[in-house]
Assembly symmetry: C2
DNA sequence: TACGCGCAAAATTTCGAAAATCAAAGAAAA
DNA sequence: TTTTCTTTGATTTTCGAAATTTTGCGCGTA
């Protein structure tokens, strides 16, 4: 029985991202232990580890619960993703080589293939799992030549919470055509190595998740950027 | 006894930030339990929670250890701090009111007072605790009108790790005069509500940590055998 | 000498129950 | 009726030991 803990962790993560638990629900170790027939302590540990990546919230003396969904939270997650992903993508442009380009192209190809199938079928749901993984891989590849493991790990954490928020919204197809175009635009910006364009593309792609726009200055993105790592 | 867990957490955090544990040292619950006389499980939990904020690293089936110090890590932390803090500060300028200005001024005043004392005595060490808290409060106040709890929490996590990295370097006084000037400049930028200037100031203030090499030797027993400190 | 195998010690994880803490319902006082 | 106190039930935290996994070391073999 190897790595029981890890299995439970993965399964719980899946259940959380999938939205199985109502947002804000209390996650009681004593209940959950039956799903995996293990002890409560083991579940407790898993919950701690899930809180490490922001998928559950922990409060001293009052246990764990699934995070509450709210417009504010959604906005904060989106905003943070924009911040991290534009930075990561621009750094990748600066530091990544042909090898990065090719990996990104590959990831995009896979994603694109799935998205085309979705478009022609008109129904996202049966391919949701596949698409979800492919999108994640594309976005992770986009920033993975940035040279900062910390940036990537932080982004991964935000990304998962973001996905947790969106899971219900995504299932109703909605903005798929735009999605396809935007992913293409991001790939193009990368291959052109155009950082400013990249900023715009990433922003457009993600900003749709803002029902209410973040307060922004009228003037375009400032030029004085932070120095490279 | 109330909140035993929390006490241990705070104490361990302090010990970690203080650099008491050699970087990369294994943190064995079985050893640590004697320091607090509690069970190993309790220590284990605390370690999990510390890993939530990046102060210790956890690896499946091979326990916990204090993070290894390295130039790369230092650079990644610095870079991330710049990213988060410029964004947070600019958002605060955009969204914060007079009330924010006054809080920031207050925090700066406290910090400034301590820094002046340090300068005239020429020795940081006796005031290190005070100064450290004041600096943290200043930087936290700087971004605390940004409107995103997520941004602030993320920044707090990075900040602590950053401090953990610097703890030894800070104690040798070094760049104090510049520090004073830079904190003033940041306050000025805030009161002028000049975002571009703010970006420059925050960048200058933090970027100094990019060139400075790590002043600490690698821990010989970091991997493999036990041989505690 | 180098390499692989297996045993023993050390470290980590898991367990079920006891102890501590919190929250809700009910009783007593105003 | 409202407020405050107390008891009771539920939940969370802590414990020490047993089960599992990793690691270190010695031994035999090429």
């Amino acid at each position: 029985m190897a790595a029981q803990d890890a299995d439970i962790f993965d399964d719980m993560r899946h259940r959380l991202i999938t939205g199985e638990f109502g947002y804000g629900t209390k996650l009681r170790a004593e209940k959950l232990r039956h799903d995996y027939n293990c002890s409560a302590s083991t579940v407790r540990e898993v919950l701690f580890r899930l809180s490490t990546v922001g998928l559950v919230e922990f409060q001293e003396q009052r246990g764990f619960r699934a995070p509450v969904q709210s417009v504010e939270r959604q906005h904060e997650l989106t905003h943070m993703r924009i911040l991290l992903e534009t930075e990561g993508a621009c750094l990748s442009i600066r530091m990544g080589g042909v090898e990065w380009e090719s990996r990104l192209t590959a990831a995009h190809h896979k994603l694109s293939h799935i998205e085309t199938r979705v478009r022609s079928s008109g129904d996202l749901i049966p391919l949701l799992g596949l698409w979800s993984r492919a999108e994640q891989e594309f976005h992770e590849t986009l920033i993975d030549a940035c040279g900062s493991g910390l940036l990537m790990r932080t982004h991964a954490v935000i990304y998962e919470q973001f996905r947790q928020q969106l899971v219900s919204a995504e299932t109703n197809y909605g903005y798929f055509p735009e999605n396809i175009r935007e992913h293409q635009a991001i790939l193009d910006a990368a291959l052109q190595r155009n950082e400013d364009l990249m900023r715009v593309c990433v922003n457009d792609h993600l900003a749709r998740n803002l029902t209410r726009p973040m307060p922004r200055k009228a003037q375009p993105e400032a030029l004085g950027k932070s120095s490279a790592i």
